[in-house]
């Protein structure tokens, strides 16, 4: 659905965090260590990671910000272990079935027309009620 560029794409939320499934979406270049890395010079593909992924299974491929700290602790940019703690503590209902990472691209047209809809589609299939977006 095309939206006016003057719109704020706001979806209301009237639930509770403790009953909500939360998914992460990040353009910090996060992916599974077992997945093909992003092309650091430009890549419009995305990586879908399992909902129950552990932080130690993830890595960053990105050449346009200093991710040395994220390399040591992925939660600096992709708080998956923190979300898991919140689930264990009952602060959130759970984690979505999937989370999504994508990387650096200067091809904003393709990002807007191709990548973003793919991300939205993956997240809609993740049973998430809420999405936390992070960058690098």
């Amino acid at each position: 659905m095309l939206m006016s560029r003057r719109c704020v794409p706001f979806t209301p939320f009237d639930g509770t965090l403790s009953e909500s499934m939360v998914a992460l979406v990040s353009n910090a270049g996060v992916h599974l260590k077992s997945q093909q890395p992003f092309n650091p010079e430009g890549d419009n593909s995305l990586r879908v990671v399992p909902g129950d992924v552990k932080g130690a299974e993830l890595m960053v491929t990105h050449s346009h910000y200093d991710h040395a700290d994220a390399d040591r602790d992925i939660n600096c940019v992709f708080p998956i272990d923190r979300l898991r703690e919140f689930r264990q503590e009952g602060l959130i209902g759970g984690l979505g079935d999937k989370h999504v990472g994508f990387g650096y691209s200067l091809n904003l047209k393709e990002t807007y027309e191709v990548t973003a809809p793919q991300v939205a589609d993956a997240i809609e299939r993740s049973k998430a009620d809420l999405v936390v977006l992070t960058a690098g």
């Binding site: 659905m1 794409p9 706001f10 209301p12 939320f13 910000y65 939660n75 939205a120 809420l130 999405v131």
Partner: protein, 76 residues
Amino acid sequence: MRGLPTVLITVVPEESALMRPPRALYPVGFRLGCSLGGPGQDTLQRRVLLDALNLFLGPPDPGKIREMRYPESGGA
């Protein structure tokens, strides 16, 4: 079409504001690569994440970026 409620954690609020995010948190002074806090700063990361999640609650303020300060960050 069903939308999904989202919240953005950003450390580049000027750029993010151009996209008119429906909900957004800016941890003041944090930098790229440490948008929720530094490595091993679990407590800080939890605070930032929970503050972001709490933006789903309460009165909506679409398009506005909420600034939050975390003195314990030490300039994450």
